[in-house]
Subunit: 341 residues, 2 copies
């Protein structure tokens, strides 16, 4: 989420300033002294205890601002300094061989990354505000009645995908191609991968065939295509990166982020939020389900999560889908439990 | 992982000391002054940039020790102090409305939780050392040949489960029971849930019927049982906790952590590592797959992850399973890429 901030093209002056500011040693004099002075917190709009981030909606001089704070990871090359006398520790519990402490690290080893968007539009605030999620059980009937009309009405542009397939863009990034128009695909690194750290390896296979919107459209006629992706994809990744098949997660998203069939290849060590059981469909499962039943993905109820800003959520709400599962608006994390416990 | 440290029963003296140490205000004089003085780092045994933890294997006075460090979450009740003058910020980038900074928070707002196990046995060190993971595609044949004999040989004790079902233990924790011996189940909070925060709601439904080891054993005869769990489980959770079905993840693990059929109920907001697509099988999918094909879970290839310390990994290795997918031992995150990029 942090990484999604889109930096627009910067002027030469700004680039120069950035170079100065970005030298990372922290000792150089700054052009301007900076502080959070003047920021007033209006609301906590998102926080995550596991990932240690906190997003705030603030105002500064009557302008809206979004402040994104995230604790930095430990620098594992600094272990000697982390365990030095400069770290103050206070015991909170001791039991036999187990000791727990609250520790205060030297400031320089314990930084926070902050991103400020100011002035922030309503859209910025919405983007970083935690959204409520809901589960949809999309039956074959609901697909035909709600989801498919939505897809057809929007005819989401996949021009950028065709640019890749036609080598007009990103041609130098292609790792492998099977050029067959029906059963072929292009394999290239996902934008989220730095291309270096093999533990976070992330590639995508994009099929040459047009018109396959998602897993919903797949049947036995697509088995040669799916088997090619599974076998050639895994083979190429083993050859090029030395990662065997037993270290790969190979899956299709439903709902996908764009409606042109593509397959995700991740290193097993990558903690990808997109690998949840209500979004990721393993390619081997997809192949075997279709082998078992030609119309498996046309008949099957598919479960996925939507967020309150998603158009699909609104369409299912309009359809009355959530009436059967009314939302209890009195839910709060402080509600007392009526259950035995 | 951090929460897994098992504290043994403590003596009254220790309990008293803990009470003193645990008062949380940080100002009281300590019985003993503490520091990491004398700890020598032997190895980084695990680290996670997303969750901000770092596990170290150390020695202290020639004894082995494990040091577990984890950054604490932001305290969202302290936002005014976080954005005060006491936080030093240094700009690293500025582009139009986007500003990024590295920030140094006042020590007291930026703590680290440390757990020390000393002296640590080899088993402790192993427990906290990152393990390599592997994907197994368990075909019906491999299940019969490798997995099933392993399950039968070990006849894993489920006495503690029978204690719950027979109300010998944890009877006061039961939220709901359908007492039918074939189609009934007991619903109770999972140990991982504090029973309070509804956003991390976690319950388990444990079936009364004995002998159902896992999803592999399910067929059409179990549909009444599975439908009961799905419907009554979701209804009870809605009544007792005010959480509607559209906010629940309901799933079965394969491999499970114990071999007596049980179903997990999570609030959708809970970030549970057990919800990965290579472990969690949604209950609605299980029901529909069986309705489609009585022997779906006997015939189906099931994909799951094993870790190098797991006995199943060793058994599949002995079986020659990984020979088809040789592990390239030269893999490292610094390997240069041979692929086009």
């Amino acid at each position: 989420m942090f990484m999604e901030v889109n930096m627009e093209k910067e002027s030469p002056e700004k680039a120069k300033k950035r170079k100065i500011d970005d030298d990372g040693d922290g000792d150089k004099a700054r052009e301007e002294s900076e502080s959070f002075n003047g920021f007033k917190v209006k609301a906590v709009i998102n926080e995550n205890a596991r990932q240690k981030y906190l997003f705030l909606h603030c105002t500064k001089n009557d302008e809206d601002a979004v402040v994104l704070l995230e604790k930095t990871p430990f620098d594992s090359s600094m272990t000697d300094q982390i365990l030095s006398d400069n770290t103050k520790i206070r015991q909170t519990l001791q039991n036999d061989i187990y000791h727990t402490y609250s520790a205060l690290l030297p400031e320089n080893l314990n930084g926070v990354k902050a991103t400020v968007i100011c002035p922030a539009s309503e859209k910025h605030i919405k983007k970083y505000t935690e959204q409520e999620s809901f589960v949809i059980q999309e039956t074959a009937e609901l697909y035909t009645k709600v989801t498919l009309p939505y897809l057809e009405k929007h005819a989401f542009s996949t021009k950028w995908v065709y640019n890749i397939l036609e080598k007009k863009k990103e041609a130098d990034r292609i790792v492998f191609e099977n050029a067959d128009p029906d059963t072929g695909f292009i394999l290239l690194p996902d934008m989220k991968w730095d291309g270096k750290d093999l533990n976070s390896l992330y590639l995508q296979a994009i099929v040459h065939k047009h018109g396959l919107k998602s897993v919903r459209d797949l049947n036995k006629s697509h088995l040669p295509l799916l088997n090619n992706i599974l076998e050639e994809g895994a083979d190429v990744i083993n050859q090029e990166y030395g990662i065997p098949k037993s270290k790969l997660r190979i899956y299709i998203h439903y709902q996908p982020s764009y409606y042109h069939l593509h397959v995700h290849f991740n290193h097993i060590n990558l903690e990808s939020p997109g690998f949840d059981a209500d979004r990721a469909h393993l390619l081997v499962d997809v192949i075997e389900n279709i082998e078992m039943n030609d119309s498996y993905y046309q008949d099957k109820t598919l479960v996925y999560r939507v967020r309150e800003q998603d158009e699909l959520y609104k369409l299912y709400q309009d359809e009355g889908y959530f009436v059967d599962f009314p939302i209890n608006t009195s839910i709060s994390s402080n509600s007392s439990l009526t259950a035995a416990s």
